[in-house]
């Protein structure tokens, strides 16, 4: 009933924290920016060697069979250091999607590849909206014994590093889930505001695809299958908020103005303290929602985490003063993540509307 972390969970989190403190610091982030927002070596450690993406993959598919709580802990640590790797896209988004909608050998094989550290990206039209399938849904057609998929997706996160893409598409009058291998797709990188999670335009022109699901699924099924991804996004935001606060605390402890450290000014202290409370509130909700995966709690976690991250990033820039507005200091990297994630899976008002509809009945 309580939310105490198990010794295994604490160990996993602390190891992740240690690794990323070492491998995803400011300098490494700068190098990753030059490489399109991706650190291949770090990914090989995380995805391959340490098999973080196997965490929530079922044991029968070669995973550890753990769940959302563990993913959330790792996502939080990745967020804290803005780790430029497709952990969220692969482990928190793609893997649960395949686990929920995939079937048979095709599904198990993909899960095995993700567990082994191959990066996956998900392509659907409405990533910016509360409804992931809004917009023009890709079209799958039978071709020979297999399928082809055609679509243009305006923005796919972590597309450039992906080994394959998961594409929900209309097929046989229903919805199906398809996998398209990277070579079959045209990937055009976009200049996004989040420098650590690059997006790309994806063009599939009759690309060969394999079908993962067995008998189709509803839009509702698809939405439900994203619950872990929504939760992990909030976890990552909590981590990033903490990371921005860490930066701020370190800076104000050193920076001297008027003969005192900035940290000694009470207004600064109070704002940092209030931020800690806000982050801790969001973190509590993320931990609780990771156990329940209740859609309302997940939406609520998204609301609180989005707000905590934005404030933390805003305050990081403000309390860094002049240098907070320079490219070479890190606060803006967190602001970029804050704004880029503010509308994934719907804006704050759309998330609140989900809760309000449940508590108060539909507005209309």
């Amino acid at each position: 009933m309580d939310l105490q972390l198990s010794p295994d969970q604490i160990f996993m989190r602390d190891e992740a924290r240690r690794l990323l403190a070492e491998r995803s610091g400011s300098e490494q982030l700068r190098r990753a920016i030059g490489a399109g927002g991706f650190d291949a070596a770090l990914w090989s450690t995380i995805g391959g060697e340490l098999a973080w993406c196997a965490v929530a993959v079922p044991e029968e598919a070669g995973g550890l069979g753990l769940g959302a709580p563990e993913l959330a802990l790792l996502a939080e640590e990745c967020g804290r250091r803005l780790a430029p790797v497709p952990f969220w896209s692969s482990a928190c988004l793609a893997a649960p999607l395949v686990a929920a909608l995939g079937a048979g050998e095709a599904g198990a094989a993909l899960l095995g590849r993700i567990a082994a550290g191959e990066a996956a990206a998900c392509a659907w039209p409405g990533i910016g909206g509360a409804d992931p399938l809004c917009g023009t849904i890709p079209v799958a057609r039978r071709a020979g014994g297999g399928w082809t998929v055609s679509a243009t997706i305006a923005a796919v996160l972590d597309a450039s590093s992906a080994a394959f893409f998961l594409v929900p598409a209309s097929a046989d009058g229903g919805l199906g889930l398809f996998a398209v291998e990277r070579p079959a797709a045209a990937v055009e990188p976009l200049e996004g505001i989040d420098l650590m999670r690059p997006a790309a335009r994806l063009v599939l022109d009759g690309a060969a695809a394999s079908r993962i699901d067995s008998a189709g699924f509803s839009a509702r099924d698809f939405d439900d299958a994203l619950m872990t991804a929504r939760l992990a996004e909030a976890a990552e935001q909590v981590g990033a908020a903490q990371g921005a606060l860490d930066l701020t605390l370190a800076y104000v402890a050193e920076r001297v103005q008027f003969g005192r450290t900035i940290a000694s000014f009470q207004a600064v202290k109070h704002r940092c303290a209030a931020l800690l409370v806000e982050i801790s509130e969001a973190r509590s909700l993320v931990h609780g929602a990771a156990r329940s995966l209740d859609p309302l709690e997940v939406a609520a976690a998204g609301v609180l985490a989005t707000q905590a991250l934005f404030r933390a990033a805003e305050e990081a820039i403000q309390l860094h003063g002049g240098v907070g507005n320079t490219w070479e200091y890190d606060p803006h990297l967190y602001l970029r993540r804050a704004q880029a994630t503010a509308a994934v899976f719907g804006s704050t008002d759309e998330k609140l509307a989900i809760i309000a509809d449940a508590l108060l009945g539909d507005a209309a």
């Binding site: 940290a263 202290k269 940092c272 800690l276 809760i355 009945g361």
Partner: protein, 394 residues
């Protein structure tokens, strides 16, 4: 017994007993309504004691039931869910009792603990003073030793002595050493309230009720054996006692919050406020905050919370009190103009009380400002706020 069986037992007992002559106590005596029906609530405390529902977390050797945290949580939840009235025994059970168990001598434990557990003696607390609100170390109430009897004679004034007019005893933090300053030289005393040197005046609160008092001591007497620890120990004991204040009552409190939010939802649905997007968003946000508090409490109440959680728990008082204050405003905004004038509907009156009372949440028990200082200094290691030139002030 399984936790669910225990839950059923509490719920069953409450249903069977909060009825008949106790029925008027349903949902009464909570914050903003703390002076309601005092005699009946004292009877209720004795009823609880008979049922074995007081001091369930105290160690067995001190008369408690030694129940683990999970059961205490369940008790708090079911008590609140059943509409159990505000606990007049709270200060004795939750504050003074644990203090005596930790610091009292055997004689004190024997004399005081059973009376608390059985609902026979009620306690008030005497910490704050008019010139020492958030700044406990600057208190001025003096305790001088009577050389003949060895008793202590106390002179001074305490404020926010909650429910002193309904209590038998008060514990008092006083300056036991002439000329001492700050946290040094303080003494922790236990004083009977029904004596000539004590005068209790109600403080009228902004909502109109009077749950708090100012208590004046003019040579009030404390028996030699009724000090906890030794003279000079007062600060250490007082700080420990404040630590006991946090904790399990949290979940019962949250159950009360949930009932308040439900009431607001009910009224919003009735009066059309639920159709307004801004109100919908605020209700949803309040729900999110409440769930966050719930999970925060679940993290804090783990048997061995890790350091990260201990750090975060410094912020919990700030978190709940500001949430609650916002809820008080939300309730009024849901009522709209109809909340500005009086109403025959008791639910409206409840929301009006909530609005006023929650203003105090961010002040009593450590103001927002003190909480943020504590979080920044103890939690984040930021520099301490300097004291002014004088320990006493202008």
């Amino acid at each position: 017994m399984s936790i669910e069986a225990f839950r059923a037992e509490v719920a069953g007992w409450m249903a069977a007993n909060l009825t008949g002559r106790f029925a008027p106590l349903f949902d009464r005596g909570h914050a903003g309504d703390g002076d309601a029906l005092p005699e009946l609530r004292k009877d209720w405390e004795r009823k609880l004691a008979e049922g074995g529902w007081t001091c369930i977390g105290w160690p067995r050797e001190h008369g408690g039931r030694g129940l683990p945290v999970a059961e205490q949580v369940v008790f708090q939840e079911e008590y609140a869910r059943a509409g159990g009235p505000g606990r007049l025994g709270h200060i004795g059970e939750g504050l003074l009792g644990p203090t005596l168990i930790a610091f009292g001598d055997d004689d004190q434990k024997r004399r005081f603990l059973p009376a608390i557990r059985e609902g026979r003696e009620f306690w008030a607390q005497g910490y704050s003073e008019p010139d020492a609100g958030s700044d406990l170390a600057s208190i001025r109430t003096r305790a001088r030793r009577d050389p003949e009897s060895g008793d202590w004679l106390v002179t001074g004034q305490k404020v926010w002595t909650s429910l002193a007019h309904l209590s038998d005893w008060i514990f008092v933090l006083a300056r036991g050493e002439e000329g001492s300053i700050g946290p040094k030289g303080l003494i922790f005393l236990m004083m009977r309230l029904d004596q000539p040197g004590v005068e209790i005046r109600p403080i009228r609160q902004i909502g109109g009720g009077s749950e708090f008092n100012a208590t004046f001591f003019d040579g009030a007497r404390v028996k030699a054996g009724d000090i906890v620890g030794v003279p000079g120990d007062g600060w250490r004991i007082a700080m420990a006692l404040l630590g006991f204040e946090r904790g399990l009552s949290t979940l019962g409190q949250q159950m009360g919050f949930a009932r308040e939010l439900d009431l607001i939802i009910e009224i919003a649905t009735e009066n059309g406020a639920a159709a307004r997007p801004a109100i919908r968003a605020r209700i949803a946000r309040a729900w999110a905050g409440l769930r966050a508090m719930r999970h925060m409490a679940m993290r804090m109440l783990a048997d061995h919370p890790e350091p990260q959680v201990q750090l975060e728990s410094l912020g919990y008082k700030y978190q709940w009190s500001n949430w609650h204050r916002d809820l008080g405003r939300l309730g009024m905004d849901v009522l709209g103009f109809s909340g500005a004038a009086a109403s025959a509907d008791p639910r409206v009156e409840k929301l009006r009380r909530l609005f006023f009372f929650t203003r105090a949440d961010t002040v009593y028990g450590g103001t927002n400002e003190i909480q943020l200082n504590i979080i920044a200094e103890r939690g984040l290691g930021m520099p301490r706020e300097p004291r002014g030139p004088s320990g006493k002030g202008a």
